[in-house]
Subunit: 196 residues, 2 copies
């Protein structure tokens, strides 16, 4: 990496948690300057505008999470364990979040849906990836005879993702990790009901 | 109502869908001026600041939804039907949303959790009410022997609310009501599994 690339990566790493906490609209230029310790020109040397920085920061945040998900499912014997391992990443979302500010997918989806086409498209692509990731885990469970063969893989992936994001929202709202933990416990029962 | 009160109500009614679409940070003073057709002074005659207007607009939006929920469950015979009637309010969230911009509870929770104490407290109170509302429906179902008597009413209410809000988030993200409809279908199966 050359010096310019290093600075760019550094700005993205500092901007990503800021956007995730405050939102794209809520994070101001002076917030970005404070988070990076750079002047406005020092930031916008590397990005054409706030949109471009926001998209790159979002991609960075999502990639960080995806690494955590991939790591969590590795070595787990069953699809049930793997699906629950995904939830475990947010087990202590309040005191030890996998990414500062909660789930970037949830935060960006909710902020961008009516207002920001570019970020919304990025959030759609990231959600596509997450649903596909869950779908692959479920399908493996079906193929190895762990889950009922008549279940709808896509619907189940969607339901798991919706409950997961809703549980994170609740925990973040109340500042209490018990909400995502309860959601995980309920989801465990639900997933077990899909077993043969 | 006196003239000042009329104007105040009018501003709240116009501001509420704007905040719900664009968010508290995303909606600017000029957005508010455009939505109301009033000048800045004409708006802030009635509110001490943007925070106060946002809180009143949020309360208004939540009250509108609560009326819809109360209406939806009325006359339904069983707790199962009543719980599904709550979901039905968002059945066509894209083309015919119960409130412009999606669920104000979800939107405000996600925006305020790390940044805006006042709105977050209001969102917590509104979520408390929603969880209590669902809890009462579930408890009635337990008491009349419709649901298993050993289920945890609070956990079930929380799980239903989390899945519901997550399903709305998905539909809004993709601009497609099928996500909340699939969530509703999955929730129907889940609720039926709680029957005796």
């Amino acid at each position: 990496l050359r010096k310019g690339e290093v600075t760019k990566e550094y700005i993205i790493e500092k901007a990503a948690p800021l956007f995730n906490r405050k939102g794209f609209s809520g994070a101001s230029i002076s917030d970005l300057m404070q988070a990076t310790g750079l002047k406005k020109g020092g930031i916008y040397n590397h990005f054409s505008n706030k949109d471009q920085l926001a998209v790159e920061a979002f991609n960075y945040a999502v990639n960080q999470l995806n690494l955590r998900y991939a790591e969590a499912v590795r070595g787990k014997a069953s699809a049930t364990e793997q699906l629950l391992a995904v939830f475990s990443i947010y087990h202590d979302v309040i005191d030890s979040p996998p990414f500062e500010g909660g789930c970037p997918l949830l935060n960006t989806a909710v902020e961008s849906d009516d207002t920001h086409i570019l970020l919304r498209e990025r959030a759609q692509l990231a959600m596509d990836d997450f649903l596909r990731f869950l779908g692959v885990l479920i399908l493996k469970g079906v193929r190895r005879g762990e889950f009922r063969s008549d279940l709808d893989v896509k619907d189940m992936a969607m339901f798991i993702a919706a409950s997961f994001e809703g549980g994170i929202m609740m925990s973040k709202l109340y500042g209490d990790s018990r909400y995502i933990q309860t959601t995980t416990a309920m989801m465990k029962l639900y997933i077990q009901q899909q077993q043969k």
